[in-house]
């Protein structure tokens, strides 16, 4: 079974200029932890809820709440996203994609075809592939 069949084609994406506050809102609204960052349709990075947390002011901050909110609302995500993204093509077998997901512990794998982001594979998609394989044995 191939990635192209199991992937989610409706992907919530961000742009590099979006701010930490904006992407955080996006993650909360859609209950997601990973957001691919695109420039046009080209994948240029990925940002996770963890990146956002770690980019937020440190625990020892002396900043006030207002100052923290200001910093979140003005820092573009391109400063803290991962630019070196592990991505896969639609023809990869789901077992290989699952292996990669486990090895990299990255939570999701963007699917790219001809330089364009066309989908995303998450743990749940791999689980569905596993259960389909079980049903077919």
């Amino acid at each position: 079974m191939h990635v192209g069949i199991m992937m989610q084609k409706q992907v919530i994406t961000a742009t590099p200029e979006m701010t930490l506050a904006e992407v955080q809102r996006l993650m909360r609204e859609h209950h997601i932890r990973h957001v691919p960052v695109v420039s046009g349709k080209r994948l240029v990075g990925i940002i996770t809820d963890r990146d956002v947390r770690e980019a937020s002011p440190s625990p020892a901050t002396t900043l006030t709440r207002g100052e923290i909110a200001y910093q979140m609302a003005t820092t573009p995500i391109k400063q803290c996203m991962t630019q070196d993204v592990v991505w896969i093509g639609p023809d990869m077998d789901m077992v290989q994609a699952t292996r990669l997901l486990l090895q990299r512990q990255c939570g999701c794998l963007p699917v790219v075809d001809n330089g364009t982001l066309i989908g995303i594979i998450t743990e749940m998609d791999c689980l569905r592939a596993f259960l389909d394989a079980v049903d077919n044995t």
Binding site: R53, P59, L102, M124, L131, V134
Partner: protein, 144 residues
């Protein structure tokens, strides 16, 4: 393949009368990667489960804009039993991986505590454990 073949038996747990701040510290410890804590009474009997989401929600949803010391102050006023999920879905070691997988898909849980006939915690199963089974089954050609 059964749950007991792929579950983890080294499980970090927390008692119901612990402070939520303690749970928060366990979950945010670097490298711990803990998102779910089974809540157990004496003799490892499971009475609930606490997720990182429960803790975040307890922290009044705007945790990132709250300084860490303020957050800990709020969480120190709460006990684990106040915010944990009481109705825990559990599986047995003899449950099939396919059945456990269906529970994950339908309920969107991150983990399932594994209990014995005495209701005591035997281990924990996550989606990652099932994915390891998927890869292993493919590599060894073993039937599921």
């Amino acid at each position: 393949m059964q749950v007991k073949d792929f579950m983890r038996t080294q499980v970090t747990t927390i008692p119901p009368d612990a402070l939520v701040s303690t749970a928060y510290q366990l979950m945010t410890l670097r490298g711990s990667g803990i998102r779910h804590l089974p809540v157990v009474m004496r003799q490892n009997v499971v009475v609930g489960i606490l997720t990182d989401r429960d803790v975040r929600l307890a922290a009044a949803s705007d945790a990132p804009s709250m300084a860490e010391h303020e957050l800990l102050y709020v969480l120190k006023k709460l006990h684990v039993r106040d915010i944990m999920t009481h109705d825990v879905v559990t599986v047995r070691g003899t449950t099939s991986l396919a059945e456990a997988g269906q529970i994950f898909l339908q309920k969107k849980f991150g983990c399932l505590p594994v209990i014995g006939s005495d209701n005591r915690l035997k281990g924990i199963l996550t989606v990652s454990d099932l994915l390891r089974a998927y890869v292993e089954q493919h590599d060894t050609g073993r039937d599921v």
